[in-house]
Structure formats: structure tokens, C-alpha cells
Symmetry: C2
Subunit: 192 residues, 2 copies
């Protein structure tokens, strides 16, 4: 998505540790019409696919997932990162390692909102090593739901998580794929 | 907002400890068109007010805040609950006590996304004792921004947080106000 690449180049910055900072429009402050545009692009890419529900994980994936769900006319479920008193007995849960936070956390989805046979689109803002998406796939599997595919805004292609999923036959659509960010210079992947 | 009261009565349930469970449409699974409707209602209530930005706190407030921001044509900032490596030096931070989680946590907003003189609308999904909104007010104050008002989907009026804010002259718009939920029976407040 050219508009996203342009925005990353214009507003993003590369921090030490190959961190791409896009807090001006994606994951801290949010450029709402732009995120709605990205949701429209995700809906367009998955047009023709039967999708019953979108599943994301809190917190920064929620806005993009909401935008895509609005464009596709399907409900959205977000996995919670801690079991709270608001999610009653009967949950699916799995462990996810976060490299950003340097720790493992549980993600939790109530059995009441994910059902056998449903076709699920997984959405997150970032895809790096793929741990978060694999956690959501595990949750979907526990529910007996089918994963129709994954969509993310920004994939760090050089970390390999997206390509590993693709090599397993999972459809992964990322609106911008970074193949490198050495010395602060961002290189996008442009496949045919 | 009659449609929200109806939905609470139809889909919500009261758990022990005066917890209102609305995870089927608001804070776990999300009824996206309905949340967009609530965003439209918030925009209508604040029409004529000068508002530059919406501020919420992760995670379950993000969708409603996104919907309102979309309807009002303003950017959205969500406060993060932990300092991550993605928020660089220069942040506003304050402590918020969460009764749901039974602990205190820090909320953090980068100085880059909140500025002196901006007029801020604070949005959250729930308003009970008002701790989260007061934390956001503190953050706005640190930034030298003005709070134009607060909007929430569901206010537990019987916990007093909303009325305390109103008594201090802060405009608080809640789309549904519960004045009681004794014995599982939900009583809505209907002022003139």
C-alpha cells in the first residue's frame, strides 16, 4: 500500500534495536481516516473470502481491526492480555512471548465469542516474528474455528515471521513489508 | 441512548461484585456498527464544541474512541498502560488505580502527541469511580491541554465517579447511566 509506505517514510523513525516508531499515526496517536483507509484495503484484499469474524489482540491492533471489521461488516473480538474478572469461566488461553516487552504473557478469549466452524481473519498492527499471530491461531484452533488468513499493517519481513506463516500455506497480507532498516534506512519489499 | 439501554438489557448480564458483563458487544466481542453508532452519538452531543483530539486509555476504550474520532474528524491518542520501548524519552505519566484488576498501573502518553493549548475530549467505555478519567485529566494537565469534556458508553452512576466530575464543572456525557444493579436488576437514570 503505497500510501502507508509514504507515511512510514515521512512520519516514521528507526530506533535502536530495529524498532520502527510510528506512534504519530498508528500505535499511539492514530490517524483515524488513514487507519480507516487501511481497513478498506484489507477488506478489498479479502473480498470473496468467507469471513465471519475478525480476531485481534489488545491494544494497538484494535483500531486497525475495528476499521477492517467496519468495512467488512463483521464483528470483532479482541483477545485480552490478562484474565480479568470481566471474562467469566470458560476461556481459551495461550502463552505469547513479546519481544517488545521482553516477557511472556497470556492471551485470553471467552468461549462465548468464538465458535466451531467460524472463519476468522486475524489482524494486528505489526508482524515481526509472528508470535502474536501464532497465539491467535492457537486460540482459533482451540475454538474449532478456521483461520481464513492474517492481515497486518506493517510486516518486518526481515524477521521472517510472515514468510514462515506463508510457507505453511497461511495467507498473510501486510500493507507494507520492510525487508531491511539498516542504518536507519528503510527498504520495502515489492514483489510482483 | 435508548439503543444502548436496550442492548444492555438484552445482551448484558450482572455478575457478582456489581460487574456488568457486556463482552458480547462492547469490551471483548465488539458490535462494530453499533459502536460506530455510539461514536456518532458522542459526536452529536459535542457538536459545536471545539475539540482538537480524543484521548483514551488502552484497551477496551479504543474502539469507541476510534468511532467517535472518525465521526468528529479528529485524531485519537491512547494512553499506554506500561512504558514500552516504542515510547521514547519524554512522556507524561500518572498512576491509576484499577478496581477491576485490583492494582495500580502507570498510564503513559508521549509528549510528542499531546500539546499545550489543545482541547481534548476524554473517552472510555466504562465510568465507575472515575479513576481512569482522572488519570487522563492529569495527563492532559501535564501537557497544558484543556479538557473539553468526557464521554463514556456506560456509567455506573451509583459509584459516583461521574457525578463527582460533574460537580467540579466537567462535562460528562454517558450514553447509558446505571443508577443501580441490585439483585441482577438494572435501573437506568433518566434525567430531564
Amino acid at each position: 500500500m503505497k500510501a502507508l509506505e509514504d507515511k512510514i517514510l515521512k512520519e516514521g523513525s528507526v530506533l535502536p534495536g530495529q524498532v520502527l516508531k510510528v506512534g504519530s499515526f498508528l500505535n499511539h496517536q492514530m490517524d483515524v481516516p488513514f487507519i480507516m483507509e487501511m481497513g478498506r484495503e484489507i477488506a478489498a484484499r479479502f473480498r470473496g473470502e468467507e469471513i465471519d469474524k475478525i480476531l485481534t489482540v489488545e491494544a494497538s491492533g484494535i483500531a486497525l481491526a475495528f476499521a477492517a471489521a467496519y468495512q467488512m461488516g463483521v464483528p470483532l473480538v479482541f483477545a485480552k492480555k490478562n484474565k480479568t474478572s470481566n471474562v467469566s469461566a470458560g476461556v481459551y488461553t495461550t502463552a505469547v512471548h513479546s519481544y517488545t516487552h521482553g516477557r511472556e504473557f497470556q492471551i485470553v478469549v471467552s468461549r462465548e465469542v468464538l465458535h466451531p466452524g467460524e472463519r476468522i481473519l486475524l489482524i494486528d498492527d505489526f508482524l515481526a516474528n509472528g508470535c502474536a499471530l501464532r497465539g491467535l491461531m492457537d486460540i482459533a484452533g482451540q475454538a474449532g474455528a478456521a483461520v481464513a488468513g492474517c492481515a497486518t499493517a506493517i510486516e518486518k519481513g526481515f524477521q521472517g515471521g510472515g514468510d514462515a506463516l506463508r510457507s505453511e500455506g497461511i495467507r498473510v497480507e501486510s500493507l507494507a513489508i520492510l525487508d531491511g532498516m539498516e542504518d536507519g534506512k528503510i527498504i520495502f519489499r515489492h514483489n510482483a
